[in-house]
Symmetry: C2
DNA sequence: CGCCCGATTGATAACGCTCAAGGCAAGTGG
DNA sequence: CCACTTGCCTTGAGCGTTATCAATCGGGCG
């Protein structure tokens, strides 16, 4: 048996969907059986091929999503920090297209998809919220396609650091300092480059005074400078 | 004024959403004002930043979606052929995140989002269909991230050709022969490489007897061989 | 017919990969 | 408590794939 703490009893309940759901609809929201589940570092919340029946919201910690080619090659396709949604990759075919692995001991809220669907038919703000969630994922992935397709190694790393920084800020964490938790290999996989290149790039950024990195602990010293990486003047 | 032929009067009506919508719900589907709109070659159906209010289904022809970086660099993020959905990139922020440009004279069905949302609250199969549509887009984009992040130039081109081939087959067109309509530059942009590399790769494939290409007209001669591109034996 | 855009092909160079060695920190067992 | 292992990170040297620059070709259209 796993922990089944109701989301309604946790401080981060608002993460399990809302944001745009009117206050007077809260009671119905509560009806959405939203239990929590811990996921230990390295453990998979779900694996590619698993049957899909719930969405998740990261309550604490962070996870990576990983997709595999048939020839065995794997690539990290996403990173989710506390407050972000997870599991949308399962909607299209009723089974997950990728795996979600915890980067540290984490906890997620479970949102049964069937119940959510039902609720979306009754509460339009709920429907709106789910649609936006999916739409955001679509746009985020398209943006990542741009990163992978058009940016140099330096630009990719810079863009990645700024993305994480912004997302941290959005969720109320520090935008300047954070613990990445991914290995250099994970970062490389996500950014379409080797772990060595990631390492070298970070070292160079550090020499230039853009960041201060101690292993996975990253301190963004000069965000504006990071934004300029790759610009004509920065050859 | 643009053409406002009702979708219900066209042979491809089933493309404008259904597939999974029960027959007895058709009348309500008809109520979804689904007009058609022609888009000439090179014309934009919508541009990044345009306000979002409709989804589209390609009725005939094909379009590319293009996303732009702030520094002006553009990348092709998708290709849509007849029967495929378009416009989901606008849901998240009520304005389109990318532009959709016709690769040839085309025609799309217009599906007003507000009406669709309303319908999805009444007809669960409709809701299901929309969710799957979005879910498919999410998975497709994740797969493209893998292509861009882990495959060599040869493998990317091969994967692209096979993808188009499969999608053509799914929509009832020939899987062996098709007119790509994109320029080499568009292909390169989509695949994260230069137009010269695309050209060279296609030439090489042709010499190997995998395909027969006459400009944008592609004939897939050996699909199994294409699938083997990049495999250990094919050095 | 001549023009122009797109495609092809070649030569060269750069960026990032591969292979390899070494370092550091945390954990494990004697 | 220290030797040893293990996993991850860093740094270096050399090479290969792919980008860049450039010339030519070809087809469609005015």
């Amino acid at each position: 048996m796993r922990s089944a703490a109701r989301c309604s009893s946790c401080a981060m309940r608002h993460l399990c969907m809302p944001q745009g759901v009117a206050a007077n609809e809260m009671p119905q929201l509560e009806a959405l059986i939203c239990s929590a589940r811990p996921v230990r570092r390295g453990e998979a919340l779900y694996r590619a091929g698993d049957s899909f029946d719930s969405l998740y919201a990261v309550r604490s910690g962070s996870l990576k999503t990983v997709m595999a080619h048939r020839d065995g090659r794997e690539q990290v396709t996403g990173l989710r920090i506390a407050g972000e949604a997870l599991g949308l990759d399962g909607i299209s075919s009723d089974q997950h297209a990728c795996s979600a692995v915890a980067l540290e001991d984490s906890s997620v809220c479970i949102i049964p998809y069937a119940a959510l669907k039902h609720l979306c038919r009754e509460i339009s703000s709920m429907q709106e919220r789910l649609h936006k969630l999916m739409g955001e994922q679509i746009v985020r992935e398209a943006a990542q396609m741009m990163v992978l397709g058009s940016l140099s190694a330096d630009e990719r790393v810079a863009a990645f650091l700024l993305d994480i920084s912004e997302r941290n800020a959005q969720r109320g964490y520090s935008s300047a300092e954070f613990n990445l938790r991914m290995t250099r290999e994970d970062m490389g996989s996500y950014l379409g480059m080797t772990l060595e290149t990631v390492s070298r790039t970070l070292s160079r950024f550090q020499k230039r005074g853009l960041i201060d990195a101690q292993g996975r602990l990253i301190h963004i010293v000069d965000p504006e400078g990071l934004r300029q990486v790759g610009a004509p003047s920065n050859a």
